[in-house]
Point group: C2
């Protein structure tokens, strides 16, 4: 198995050239993000993740998590690694200084998060869920709840969870049945939740659950759901821990991948009712939950980048040391990295991963603008852009991860199928990404319905205009072909979107039917846009004689590969969309069987 080498070079390039971190650092409140601080954060995160967290990836996969005496026991070494993560201050990077955070840009926290995810996807989910809980509490909880809980969660001393899913309520949260009864100023929660990531563990003294539940007099459906904070241990007035609350892990799922991330069935209130505190207002829980879900969706796209990066590194390392057969023009046996089809696979892995990385960071930079930009118009534009990009990032970057991790297995040949090699783990780990935080089918509906049709296509038009500006600047030398291929792909996106808008009035079923291919069309083009930005920047750096010539040359080839081998998918998705809905809807349910 290969060692993990944090991709600091490419992350640094993406922060500078795609996310324009220097511009972000000029926004009010983000002045801490000096070049020195950025470099120090990247180096420190690289060290921690490579040396402490990455080595637990295979062992965690083998060991998994288990329940003993009513508590989840995490895989060996995870507790110590988490302690180092917290002590290094890594959990608090993006949060507000008033809660103990470091107030650094989200794009920089994204770099830290990516390295943690790449090192160990299962481990990374624990801080990720905590971050979502912090966001929800920061925006919706009252002063008192924030005072008691936030600083310990920001530091990472306590972790957080999201309790949404129930057996009958997966994608459809309207069906939530968990009950909340008023009990003075607090509430008593009872019911069962499933698929709760890091729902329990022994790494921290407390676990803070955010739980969707329904009051006795709540209206039916999603308008009757409230959000509650339910701590594993109650917290005394002085901040010390009090009684064990009535919330328990019941079992841990046996999953295809991310074995070291305990996916728990949680039981609330079997012994009198778990004490909970209302977050936000009664019956407005879903909006609070979406606060954390939107951010989490982009983070899942980032997970796609992370696991792809890990798979790619391992595949390249294997291909460079595995000698097998003669390649065209080579007389003797050579390492398989010399075989053209292996090179094709390695470049495909690289092109998809780097395009997706840039896209995620660009989306996160919008988040920084929403929080810090002084101009309301700029904040609104950022909000519209991130709303549009969220389902694209989540959907496309996770489909991409399946493709890349599967290619990683293929590069290994028969060895890829042997678990000890580690290549298969990345595919197993990646397979959850198109499912959780809203399946990609849900993302596609969100994109085509809420983000495109309901908006009258305005946000997409703005994006298309920006993409076209980039394509237009690639008008000479080796970049011209990238530019013209991107221009064609943008035209496919634009005309397909117009066609959908036209048809949707007459045919209400059509959008849902073509939504998946529309999302993949948008993602493919967006990835091409980002690698065009990358090519432009790399060409500029080469022209001005920087010290990263090899890196920039590789970037140019990667962008060209994407334009030649990935962008042709745009037209394919467009053709599928334009074939319409009839065949999909033609059969009775029984005939589908």
């Amino acid at each position: 198995m290969s060692e993990f080498r944090p991709p600091v070079d490419d992350i640094g390039f993406v922060l500078a050239e795609h996310a324009a971190i220097a511009d972000l650092a000029r926004l009010p409140g983000l002045g801490e993000a000096t070049p020195e601080i950025v470099a120090a954060v990247l180096d420190g995160a690289a060290q921690l993740t490579a040396q402490v967290i990455a080595p637990l990836n295979r062992s965690g996969d083998r060991e998994g998590a288990r329940i003993e005496n009513g508590q989840v026991v995490e895989a060996a070494g995870f507790g110590e690694a988490y302690r180092q993560y917290v002590e290094g201050g890594w959990n608090s990077v993006p949060f507000a200084p008033r809660h103990g955070g470091q107030g650094l840009p989200l794009v920089l926290a994204t770099a830290v998060q990516e390295m943690v995810q790449t090192a160990n996807l299962a481990f990374s989910l624990c801080p990720l869920l905590t971050q979502g809980a912090i966001d929800a509490l920061s925006q919706h909880a009252d002063e008192e709840l924030q005072r008691v809980y936030l600083s310990k969660m920001v530091s990472g001393e306590w972790t957080g969870t999201m309790n949404l899913t129930e057996p009958q309520a997966g994608s459809d949260l309207a069906a939530v049945r968990t009950r909340a009864e008023r009990d003075g100023r607090q509430y008593r929660i009872s019911g069962s939740k499933i698929f709760i990531t890091w729902g329990d563990h022994g790494m921290t003294a407390n676990v803070i659950h955010l739980v969707l539940a329904r009051l006795p007099d709540a209206p039916p459906g999603v308008k009757g759901i409230s959000l509650f904070l339910v701590p594993k241990f109650l917290v005394n007035a002085d901040g010390s821990l009090g009684e064990r609350n009535d919330v328990w892990p019941v079992s841990v799922e046996h999953k295809l991948g991310i074995h070291a991330s305990p996916t728990c069935v949680m039981s609330f209130g079997e012994h009198g009712g778990a004490i909970g505190y209302l977050v936000g207002r009664e019956n407005e829980g879903l909006a609070c939950m979406f606060t954390m879900m939107n951010h989490a969706r982009i983070s899942v796209g980032l997970q796609g980048v992370a696991v792809s990066e890990r798979a790619r590194q391992q595949a390249v390392a294997y291909a460079r040391q595995r000698v097998q057969g003669a390649a065209p023009g080579a007389p003797a046996r050579v390492a398989i990295v010399q075989h053209p089809d292996v090179r094709r696979m390695l470049l495909q892995m690289r092109a998809l991963t780097e395009a997706a990385r840039a896209l995620v960071y660009v989306a996160m930079a919008e988040q920084d603008r929403i929080h810090h930009h002084g101009d309301a118009g700029a904040r609104a534009a950022a909000a519209a852009r991130i709303a549009l990009l969220t389902p694209i990032v989540k959907g496309w970057c996770t489909e991409m991860a399946l493709e890349v991790t599967s290619l990683g297995v293929q590069v290994h040949g028969g060895m890829g199928y042997i678990e000890e090699t580690g290549a298969a783990q990345h595919l197993r780990d990646a397979r959850i990404l198109p499912i959780y935080e809203g399946t990609n089918g849900i993302q596609a509906l969100d994109l085509i319905g809420r983000k495109f049709l309901r908006d009258g296509g305005r946000a997409l038009q703005a994006l298309v205009a920006e993409m076209r500006d980039v394509a237009a600047t690639l008008d000479n030398g080796p970049l011209a072909d990238i530019g013209s291929r991107l221009e064609q792909a943008i035209a496919e996106l634009e005309s397909t979107a117009a066609w959908i808008a036209e048809q949707a009035d007459a045919d209400g079923v059509l959008p849902a039917t073509v939504a998946y291919h529309f999302l993949m069309l948008a993602g493919t083009v967006a990835g091409g846009w980002q690698l065009a930005v990358a090519a432009r920047a790399a060409a500029r750096r080469l022209a001005t004689g920087g010290d990263d010539e090899a890196f920039c040359n590789t970037k140019l080839v990667t962008a060209r590969f994407y334009a030649e081998q990935i962008l042709p998918r745009a037209r394919m998705h467009a053709e599928v969309v334009r074939a319409g809905a009839e065949a999909v809807m033609a059969l009775d349910e029984a005939l589908l069987a």
Copy 2:
């Protein structure tokens, strides 16, 4: 978990309409394949596979295989299921009556094999390897070896293996190091082999290994490899079993999938040398091995169909019972099969699976013609066709299987990621298919090099002409659109092939660089050709008022879906090919890392 329902209807349709089994039954030696016999074979195989073999699929996955006291212990129940398989005569269906076989067409044996594979992929590999060994012995072994071994292998009383791979010799068999020393009329074999499927087990009294090894005076490379038969137990003159031979399973791999199929490291000759018998002539072992490998490659394509069928059935069953959310136009919560994107996934699974099934059977029918046709020209045409189709079937049908089994997980949502559901097993099982029996990279090189360029494009031209004839007959009513979409895709294949032939003279590296996309282009078009044949037959059946109206209507929708949603990939692959090799070959090895 859903029960397995053998797809007898579609297999019957494919045998009749795609493989033209009635025509095959008129060939010399295949007269036994009357409609009554065909129906009885399908029914019997359906019963055995559904009732006996399929129920062991999940338990076999959980239990796997292990080594105890120098022998592999297979998963519980497998021995009894294998006994019933042998007693029912299922192993002997396609073999020559002179060896105790039933002399039925290979396409009919393919139907049996598909049902066994669909029921339990891991189980099916044991008879599959035996069949390959029988083919090699039938064609290359002398009379004495055939007399002693063949009838017991045809009945299934003894099983067979293929021992090719060594740690340094995977795709590159020239690197084989296992030694064979002459010892009177026999040989002493010593060395180590890896990745030996069903290399040992307790289901039968003997296991017959076919082993590639090198004589002391052999020339280097593939021209110095010989094939030997090495039995686990030596066989006495009277046919009874004698001494234990010096061949032992050393370990069983821990794999991503097909857990119940023991993948062994085998050790030959650690205690004096394993006794082996030469098959064919010295130093001509590779040709003998290719006899079994070509057939095995089509069978691996069939495995892609089989595991896809299993995944599809399970996904449809889940989608019909899982209630979640409201669909467009439906007021209340509905089963997810009503959601358009779920329907899209289910139809995609069906269209790919049925196209691939027809393609495999059409290839197998050529094999029947090679063995039984009275006309030498017809035999030669069949041989040219199957040579061309083999890499397409192996490559495309196995890539298709990854797509379909991954969609099967997706349809299940979060439940698909939980191992108990069983959906993930199909993806894990399928992931070996693009790797073994020659990676798909090797298949792609075989197609573009040996089967296309070296042949001057003749076999491909003949195939294109036949496809075009089919497209031309779909010229009216609802079939016209299928016909014209197929016609466009064929034109992409033809022009891309011509472009490659043109370029290949000047650029020796190009073919290897574009080989994968050329294979996928050919497979996509071939699948469309087969579903066009299916649509034509279904329309004819509907017009003549058969009793399978629902089946034929579904087939028409499936063919239309393929034409609309899968065939657009043809142009995408063509565009990638025509972008050429430069980007793939541009980087130094170090820059790929």
